[in-house]
Symmetry: C2
Subunit: 255 residues, 2 copies
Amino acid sequence: MDYVEFQKQVSLSKQDICREVYADNRNSIRVKKEGTVVKNLERIFDATLKISNKKGFQAMSMRDLSQETNLSMGALYSYFSSKEELLEMLQHQHRTITIRILEAYIHAQKDPSGKLRIAIRTHLYLSEIMQPWFYFSYMETKNLSKQQQELAIASELYTEKIFSDILNEGQIQGFFQIDDLQLTASVIKAMLQDWYLKRWKYAKRKISVDQYARFVLDMVEAYISDGKASQKYIKFSEAKGTVNELSGSGDTLSR
Amino acid sequence: MDYVEFQKQVSLSKQDICREVYADNRNSIRVKKEGTVVKNLERIFDATLKISNKKGFQAMSMRDLSQETNLSMGALYSYFSSKEELLEMLQHQHRTITIRILEAYIHAQKDPSGKLRIAIRTHLYLSEIMQPWFYFSYMETKNLSKQQQELAIASELYTEKIFSDILNEGQIQGFFQIDDLQLTASVIKAMLQDWYLKRWKYAKRKISVDQYARFVLDMVEAYISDGKASQKYIKFSEAKGTVNELSGSGDTLSR
DNA sequence: GTCTATACACAGATAGAC
DNA sequence: GTCTATCTGTGTATAGAC
């Protein structure tokens, strides 16, 4: 699987995301026509991510948002009851999508080597498609309430555990040779995060997400491989992995 | 060199830092008694880092800062002319100290393996001593002016170049075997950053900075080593490195 | 469903007493 | 050198017209 293939498979559109948000918030959103809601939520999310990722969510005023979306402040407040709620909607949606897609792809794999490979690629590819969402979630965690911060932390640890579970499985089955599973999973996450946190840098250098994925895999494999045998196995298994297609339609997220 | 040894060598105290800031800003700081300035700057910096790292610099009001420092708002404004200037002081000081100490330690090393090892350890140890400063600089870059943001980016790239230069030297001398120098330097940085960005996580798991340093070194060495020979060389060279002592006095930064 | 106009709380910053 | 009191702009949020 490469990035182009991943994009086709998930075809995760902005509309899809906004429809899902509407479904989850029918009570708090005062506007009732789905078409209108989806259209405006898309503008609101786009604008929020754009402005916040430039100068921070706290620094983005509702007047800024009003101008960027071409919606009045009154109109904005019929889609959420407070600025904080807008923040929570974005964070929640990001977490939900990430977990869902990551798990779907990993579960389609049988062996630990394939799982590890696909987990790393899926995370990178998803963060490529939804870069503004990933960046936003990371940088704006502080602005959440205590309660919502706990959720963000739990999600971070959960994702890490997905990786350490795979590593553990591979260790038990004798494919990997790892001293500290948790620490290994932790730095894998750090490398994945760098991709969306330092996007400007990689873009400037014209590093593609596939190049980066290849690099991370090489580095991780060099560390966890116990001699030539298991290393050969991993390299070989990269060729034969397949993934079930996932549902979705509409145009893709881009930025 | 381990962390305890590093701490003794640098003995980088809060007073030292504040004295330096005073020296750099004699014109803009209205208070003239050095003792008073140093004492109050220390309170101001402590409070700013504490509040900002919890809820963000933008979200910290001058009234928050006034309460935490036990200084009136009027008093605060005799140490800086605007909130933005306070931000710049912290960022500038952090960059200056980091570069100075990193370079001092690296230049004391002869061979690339020693340089790489000491560069990684020095960066980790310094970010351990000054964790609030590192975290702050990373998270608050957005709030800087365009001009100041350029400086922050330049600094980020400069640090990365320190690493890629070392890797390049090792490559030329035949110790390292690396496909992409820049990408390798980039993920090394990502791993170093994770240490101060996710401090809560490592603290909870009781991972010491020395454990983390050992782990990063192992991972990097596994990747850049070309067979057993060079790997042995690196491992061996770890034992014999020494570093010149650096000046400084007073109590150490802690948090 | 969206707009305009406005309430009112709080931000950063300063003047002048002590 | 520090404080108190206050100026003025901007923030979030809402009411009520259309």
